[in-house]
């Protein structure tokens, strides 16, 4: 499934509906949405500036490379044989995701995919689909945002959510990984 198709289908269907229900709102909603895109980019730039700064320190000190060596068996099983620099980025992405530092995980994933891609490649490779699914199922040791919201509303036991979340996200992550592996084998 391609993003171009999803985007086109959502735009055509939504605008068609709105022409019947509220034609005057189409432009306003679109411009507000574009503005929230800019707003989000500003928020994200702050998050990425901080985390990419921290990650660069971890790279320059050799910590990331050490982590990547430790994680190599797992990475090889998930993504197949990859170049050294890609390995480092994948290790960064996975470990950042696990501790809930999405601001460090996303830039690493974007760089990893750029480095894995051939110049004229149009279709995502198995390793890229794997990275995508791993990030989407977000296996997390601590759901910090959820706990934060529960605490804000005076939960008597916000930590209750940790184990079931870990259990469920582990199962869905494993399932996602197995499906990607199965489809990859069929394609190869």
């Amino acid at each position: 499934m391609g993003m171009s198709i999803i985007f086109a289908a959502m735009m055509v269907a939504s605008i068609t509906m709105l022409i019947f229900s509220a034609p005057s709102s189409v432009l306003g909603i679109s411009l507000d949405a574009a503005a929230s895109g800019v707003q989000l980019a500003i928020t994200l730039s702050a998050i990425y500036i901080f985390w990419m700064g921290i990650v660069q320190i971890a790279v320059d000190s050799g910590l990331v490379q050490r982590l990547a060596r430790l994680m190599r068996p797992v990475i090889r099983w998930l993504f197949g044989e990859q170049r050294e620099d890609v390995n480092d980025l994948l290790a960064t992405n996975i470990s950042a995701n696990m501790i809930g530092a999405g601001g460090a995980a996303t830039p690493a994933a974007i760089d990893a995919i750029e480095k894995m891609a051939e110049p004229e490649q149009r279709r995502a490779s198995n390793a890229m689909v794997m990275l995508f699914v791993l990030s989407a199922t977000s296996m997390q040791l601590l759901p910090t945002t959820v706990i934060g919201i529960l605490d804000k509303h005076n939960s008597t036991n916000s930590g209750w959510i940790i184990w079931p979340t870990f259990l469920v996200s582990t199962v869905t992550t494993l399932l996602g990984v197995l499906i990607v592996k199965y489809l990859g084998r069929k394609r190869a």
Binding site: M17, L44, I57
Partner: protein, 169 residues
């Protein structure tokens, strides 16, 4: 416990780097500089996906989709109070946080509904955001089975969450 993880992690990186003679100031600035390039690269993709998602929500199609999904959700034991939340989760990070908070207010922070929603929130990401951003530096437009697999996993998180919470509470 959980509040210590990130600060301890960051402190650990600094201590390790200083120990290995890294100029942390220069490194930080270098990393931060690549963040600016990254943001400029993903902004058009962010804008495109947000326009599509917000038009989709405003047109009533998202509600329609929720209505259509409800019988399926009933069938697999997902409480129907969660349908709008689960439907918006793949599209909008901010939207799903707002809906989650509404669920907490409406049903209480320690209720069954809230806990199932919390598990779904904690075990899936904003899929359409990832798909817009992850491939932004390449020409790749065809993501293969990535999106359907990710959506299936989100759906499964809700089914499993409903089961696990019922079993544990």
């Amino acid at each position: 416990m959980s509040v210590y993880i990130i600060p301890v992690f960051i402190l650990g990186i600094f201590v390790y780097a200083i120990w290995h003679g890294v100029n942390t100031y220069d490194s930080f600035v270098e990393g931060a500089r690549s963040a600016i390039k990254l943001i400029v690269g993903i902004l058009p993709f962010l804008a495109a996906i947000l326009v599509a998602v917000q038009l989709f929500a405003a047109s009533g199609l998202l509600d329609l989709l929720s209505l259509l999904a409800r019988p399926i959700f009933d069938l697999v034991g997902i409480p129907h109070e969660l349908t709008p939340f689960i439907m918006i989760k793949p599209f909008s990070g901010g939207g799903s946080v707002a809906l989650f908070e509404q669920i907490v207010i409406e049903h209480g922070p320690d209720s069954y509904i809230t806990r199932v929603a919390g598990i779904v929130a904690g075990s899936s990401e904003t899929i359409f955001y990832i798909s817009a951003v992850y491939f932004s530096k390449t020409k790749i437009k065809n993501l293969g089975a990535a999106i359907p697999i990710a959506l299936l996993c989100t759906f499964l998180a809700a089914v499993l969450g409903a089961l696990v919470v019922r079993w544990m509470m």
